[in-house]
Symmetry: C2
DNA sequence: TTGTAGGCGTTATCAA
DNA sequence: TTGATAACGCCTACAA
């Protein structure tokens, strides 16, 4: 390659990796590098060192702001330590999920930050056993010892519904998510527990099961508001469904909060775009990303203390004007 | 590696890559692969073949829905042809932009889909000359022959403003973007040209210069509506600023469209979440992604016909209820 | 400070 | 059909 300097390949390598060469050679080498447009082949380097200084990030869906926001923060932290990242999404497809996981491993990433859909412990275990650090985010995988960073979904939901109850609402609807997603189960549990704690019985009719997509939020909210005996408040348990629900409210000209109180989820900007501003549960995306990245960095350094670490972060209820007080 | 089968490494390699082996050996090999948990080292393979079956995608910002939506569609198309992708964002930072570009090249991707911020032709040229196919999206780089997929920004803007003019608006404000971004310049040109074509002079006061961020949309719209002589309509030229503008309208309780007509940009879902539904310019994200991917695939196959190809896609004006007719 | 030699996991060539 | 063997581009001793 850059051996047109007359020097040996080893010397060049040493120079590139910060070794000492005498001044005159330094000049020659630098010039030769410039002239030949030489660039180190990370591939070959990785092959030799078996460290690629690259970490993989695997998420269900790129078009999900919640995911990308976390990823952005993970990257920020990692970048400062000289790590690059390969971002992959699996389009919420279990087949692709495994494929992409393999892809990352085959690319010899040094570690993975992973928001799983599949709950099969074996999938993750086979890599963990191979010594590859994996940090799970947003959703745990029961049955496997793995570092995890998630949010206290149960209490997030609990406090949101509690807010509605203490404001006097007695019939609170919930638009919950699919049963096979951890966060959805936890958020539903929060709804149930707060009812218990306040000695209220749950009307099964008020528990609507969505699929975390915009359409289901739209459909289920439409359904709620067109009943002859609608709830006085509705809690929607993720961002996409919140959007759908708001669309339904708009199209049916429901006055919020006079006719219906609403608490949504996740996206602060969207909450302010809606009029009146939505009261929402916000997750600490930034903290999730940074915590996960820091934890991975720690593992990468060989520090296995506290393994498996489970970080459970707190959410916040951001007040808008979409909840009214019932006397 | 999997040589505990007693067979040679060459045979195994052949088998893995679809070569023929006799039935009995096939069984042995498959079992050994399973037992040892063997996986091909893509790194080493890439080193040898200099084809990684991986393409790089480089965008300014992961948290930008416009970007991720395109990326998702690129990926879909690529995936069907057996290509994987490495997604990188450079956080709208020129330094990082070059760094990530290098990163992708060093990872030996077979091609790159690239939404550039930097307009320096040399950056791209040095890779193009090296035979690496690059497809530019959303923004061209003048001065370099490179395949490009973009949108007809000028006419997108033209038609939006024309809609306002033909509905009787005579004083149309625009919240435009930063001068150093191609799409912003084009969109402003559209605004100017439609004024020319309709024989209207532009009031400099009505041309507000934003930076494509939420805050500037908020600030500039706030400014518009608190003037003593506000415009009767405002056109906002990207998604983030549209959100900011809507927030300003909400907080100031401006009645849309009675007091002010508004046309925004890009996000159909957001447009429906806002009440009344926003009239917006929507870009064909899906088509952009698919076109770019298809073009790259073509180059990857060695088909260089029509190089450099410039695809200029059409936008659509989606009617909401945020524009009123002035008599 | 510099050069030589060996090996990382694959694939490709060619002979067996 | 199979097996030796030589690359691929780089890094790490170790020797000069």
């Amino acid at each position: 390659v850059a051996k047109q300097t007359g020097l040996s390949i080893a010397t060049i390598s040493k120079f590139i990796n910060g070794g000492n060469v005498i001044e005159s050679n330094r000049v020659i080498i630098e010039q030769a590098i410039r002239e030949t447009g030489f660039r180190v082949n990370e591939i070959a380097r990785g092959l030799k060192t078996s460290r690629t200084m690259t970490i993989g990030i695997l998420i269900p869906n790129l078009e999900n702001v919640f995911c990308t926001s976390i990823v952005a923060n993970v990257e920020n932290t990692l970048l400062q330590q000289g790590y690059s990242s390969i971002i992959c999404d699996y389009r919420e497809d279990r087949g692709l999920e495994h494929g992409k996981l393999d892809f990352l491993v085959n690319k010899m990433v040094d570690g993975i930050i992973y928001m799983p859909l599949d709950q099969d412990p074996a999938q993750v275990a086979r890599f963990l056993d191979g010594g590859l650090p994996i940090i799970l985010i947003d959703r745990p995988i029961p049955g496997v010892a793995c570092d995890t960073v998630l949010v206290d979904n149960l209490n997030a939901s609990y406090h949101a519904v509690e807010e509605l109850i203490t404001r006097g609402h007695r019939r609170v609807g919930i638009i919950s998510g699919p049963d096979d997603i951890y966060t959805a189960r936890e958020r539903l549990k929060g709804y149930q527990r707060v009812h218990e704690d306040y000695g209220m019985t749950i009307e099964p009719d008020l528990v609507a099961r969505g699929d975390y997509r915009v359409e289901s939020g739209f459909r289920l909210m439409s359904d709620f508001i067109t009943r002859q005996n609608p709830p006085s408040a509705v809690f929607i348990t993720n961002y996409e469904m919140t959007m759908g629900a708001v669309m339904a409210l708009n199209e049916n000209h429901v006055k919020v909060p006079a006719e219906l109180s609403v608490i949504g989820f996740d996206n602060l900007q969207m909450a302010r775009v809606v009029s009146p501003a939505l009261t929402i549960v916000v997750q600490p995306m930034r903290q999730i990303g940074e915590t996960a990245a820091a934890l991975l960095l720690k593992r990468l350094k060989g520090d296995l203390s506290g393994f498996p670490a489970i970080h459970r972060l707190k959410t916040e209820l951001v007040q808008g004007e979409s909840v009214c007080t019932v006397l």
